[in-house]
């Protein structure tokens, strides 16, 4: 029975880059030859069965990959991936949420960078919408958040957005009441009065 089979499989699985035999041997305090034997065994097992993943040996070590015939499905997955926020998108959305109705120039003024691309993405994702045109020279478009924005963040309406003050109140307490500190050393006296 090969030793540490499970551990070796798990190690290769969680490793972001191909995992070298000697690294595994070091961690599990095994002989390199034994590690390689287990890996070859695993490799055959994955190869033989009708699996979607295979264990591959590349120049730098061992790595799990998906089988080539699954690539089409994976491409579909990439395409249908839910929208994930970049920091820029989050920043822009935050400004629009709090400052609406707002023009793009105003957002860019606050962010200090061109935000055209981000606006486009947010519009495409329907998180923001054009509210109209501002009555100033140039008649720039003004933007606000959409119904989808509320849904995305699970808010009933915009008033559910915490004010900055509420947020600061929460933040300021971190300074003296960290997670690792026990409560006995914190000096806050506030006790909730709300019965349930």
């Amino acid at each position: 029975m090969p030793e540490h089979r499970k551990q070796i499989e798990a190690l290769v699985f969680v490793s972001e880059s191909p995992l070298r035999v000697d690294r595994i041997a070091e961690i599990l305090e095994m002989k390199k030859g034994d590690v390689r034997a287990v890996l070859n065994d695993l490799q055959q097992e994955y190869e033989g069965a009708d699996r979607g993943i295979i264990l591959e040996e590349v120049a730098e070590g061992f790595q799990f990959r998906t089988r080539p015939e699954c690539s089409e499905a994976i491409q579909q997955l990439v395409k249908s991936r839910p929208f994930r926020f970049s920091r820029a998108a989050l920043e822009t959305l935050a400004i629009i949420a709090y400052r609406q109705p707002v023009t793009r120039a105003e957002v860019e003024y606050l962010r200090g960078v061109d935000s055209g691309g981000v606006f486009k993405t947010l519009l495409e994702k329907q998180l923001i919408r054009i509210l109209g045109k501002k009555d100033v020279p140039g008649r720039p478009l003004i933007y606000g958040t959409s119904k989808e924005f509320l849904e995305f963040f699970g808010m009933r309406d915009l008033s559910a957005l915490p004010t900055l003050k509420e947020f600061s109140d929460l933040s300021s307490e971190l300074a003296d009441a960290g997670m690792e500190n026990s409560v006995a050393v914190s000096v806050h006296g506030g006790e909730g009065e709300e019965p349930d």
Partner: protein, 256 residues
């Protein structure tokens, strides 16, 4: 039997009280308030003697205990019985203690469950199969908290309040155009942030930005970005004399 009590091991007054009641093997529904109060206060005293700050919550509970104790000492008047059933002054405290115990237990159960990145691991990096055409910008999961945090961070970074000021006449776009051209002369490229000395104020950033766009319009510079929201780079569009043309990638912005 005397043994140590480490006050900071208690999550709060309810936790401490639970411990004292259990230690004394008292019936939760028949707490001997006088005895418990005495022990509770003794623990608080020892904290003070060690110069530990006694949290307000612990003091508040001490007051509550003393209040209950005094109520229990009051003689029961016969005439009060008729109106309502005598409410045990300890009832609310007992209810809170039992409720607290329930969640203390639940917390321990949670803590004992296998958790991610301690007991079990998943692949938390994008598979190489997935990264085709992905922007290499950091992607984040967001909720309302992250949204507010982003806004607050932004406001902190912005030195002056969000007010349009009109006192920027001194700072003209054409002046900025000239100074940018000056900086760019003899160089292959210039980062947008390099055109400032130190930390620029808002009007300065805006005027510089306008100047930059003006330069693009005049086809004197080209702008490039590595990532969509990465830093902006300025390249001379017309290279002086016989210098080789700057290599421009496909990701040149559509400005030029």
């Amino acid at each position: 039997m005397a043994y140590e009590i480490k006050i900071e091991n208690f999550e709060g007054p309810l936790d401490l009280l639970l411990h004292l009641i259990k230690k004394n093997e008292m019936d939760i529904y028949d707490i001997q308030v006088a005895a418990i109060t005495e022990q509770y206060l003794a623990v608080l005293d020892s904290m003070k003697s060690l110069n530990l700050d006694v949290a307000g919550e612990f003091l508040l509970m001490a007051a509550t205990l003393l209040h209950i104790k005094s109520k229990m000492l009051l003689p029961v008047h016969d005439d009060e019985e008729a109106d309502e059933e005598e409410i045990d002054p300890r009832a609310e405290l007992v209810r809170r203690l039992l409720e607290y115990q329930k969640y203390k237990d639940a917390g321990e159960t949670l803590g004992g469950m296998p958790c991610l990145n301690r007991d079990v691991f998943a692949r938390k990096f994008p598979s190489p199969e997935l990264v085709v055409g992905q922007e290499d910008e950091e992607m984040i999961a967001v909720g309302i908290f992250e949204l507010v945090e982003a806004f607050q961070r932004l406001l902190k970074e912005t030195s002056d309040p969000y007010i349009h000021e009109i006192n920027i006449e001194k700072l003209t776009v054409s002046e900025r155009i000239n100074s940018i051209l000056g900086l760019l002369s003899g160089r292959d490229s210039l980062a947008f942030m390099e055109i400032f000395d130190g930390t620029p104020d808002r009007p300065m950033v805006v005027v510089s930005f306008l100047a930059m766009l003006e330069l693009v319009k005049m086809r004197l510079v080209r702008l490039m970005q590595n990532t969509r929201c990465g830093s902006i780079w300025l390249y001379p569009a017309v290279v002086e004399d016989d210098l080789a043309a700057v290599e421009l990638g496909d990701d040149t912005l559509g400005y030029a």
